[in-house]
Symmetry: C2
Subunit: 207 residues, 2 copies
């Protein structure tokens, strides 16, 4: 697999994947870059450039084979792994993520919830029981968790990351507003919801 | 203002801004691209390239003037507008956004919350009262709302977008998993939380 795919392209791949799945449900077998672009508000040129990064798919004047392209994108993104997530910190954001429907559409499943607050330990969110963070090792291992999602306050995030990695997670998705230090073999993605909002501000300021 | 700044650069500007603000609080007046890079896990080359997009700031062998650069980035992103947000749909995600601390650090304020569920209308989240969506026009206008944040289910999102625009918002930040149709003069940013998760999956699959 090539390592040269740009972050911007990687960020568009889940959008392509999800649209191709819808298109497949509509029983379309071939889709043009124009039609994909129309559905996604992305230029056909951008789509052809993105998809050309990982091989020749399109047939000139015909389009892309929907199933073939969908499977290829799933493979590039590693979605066939059906990664299993544990969320640590079940406040507003953790609760929102536990309920977020888009994850399942990409093959991710939330399998465990953890919190230190005894008042909510034992209750359920979206049918998943909240466990005590003190039992992290056992819960991560028993549920074969791949990805640790950190939605605790900034001051607790580094310690939670270390506990998650010690418990065996293979990747960290961090929502706490702090730079985490993790071993280089553990992929880490930091999420900052205000990035999208700042982009909106930028576009509003151009008017 | 140049229109040629890439989306990827725009997405990094809030990270630069936030770090520069911290650096300013530490009373540093000059920062090198190496130090900025170290704090952000971004290469100094990438930082110099991003910042060169909008003019000459750095002084060779010295660094960037912290306050000047911070103000310039705020200006490019339009943060000096101190945009006012209304969130429509106060479920888990709407509630999480109402509580999200990072917005304030960029000058955004959540000033109104709206929902159709009479059971929660009148209650408060983070000190802000939830109003009835039926009163949208009045609430948007009375609170001088600039940005409408849509966290309702997909089936209601288009109608909510139209109501928000009719009520006078100047931009839409959409979390509903659906493509919205809005007038071209209204900037729209779609947020999909699974994009970051897919990027993590990609990096985990490379190991």
């Amino acid at each position: 697999m090539k390592k040269t795919i740009s972050q911007a392209t990687i960020d568009r791949l889940p959008l392509y994947f999800r649209t191709l799945r819808l298109v497949e449900d509509e029983e379309m077998q071939i889709i043009s870059s124009e039609e994909l672009g129309r559905r996604l508000d992305i230029t056909p040129e951008q789509i052809r450039k993105d998809l050309a990064t990982f091989g020749q798919f399109g047939r000139k004047g015909i389009g892309y084979d929907v199933r073939e392209l969908k499977n290829k994108i799933a493979n590039i993104l590693g979605l066939q792994n059906n990664w299993r997530l544990a969320i640590v910190g079940i406040g507003h954001l953790g609760g929102a993520l536990a309920n977020y429907v888009n994850f399942a559409s990409l093959g991710f499943s939330v399998v465990a919830l953890l919190d230190i607050n005894k008042k909510i330990v034992g209750t359920e969110v979206n049918g998943i029981k909240i466990n005590d963070s003190a039992d992290m090792n056992e819960i991560i291992s028993a549920n074969a968790v791949d990805i640790g999602v950190i939605t605790v306050p900034a001051g607790e995030a580094q310690s939670v990351a270390e506990q998650l990695i010690a418990a065996g997670v293979k990747g960290i998705w961090n929502f706490a507003p702090i730079k985490l230090t993790v071993p280089s073999k553990i992929p880490l993605v930091n999420e900052d919801l205000s990035v999208g909002l700042s982009a909106l501000s930028y576009h509003m300021s151009q008017n």
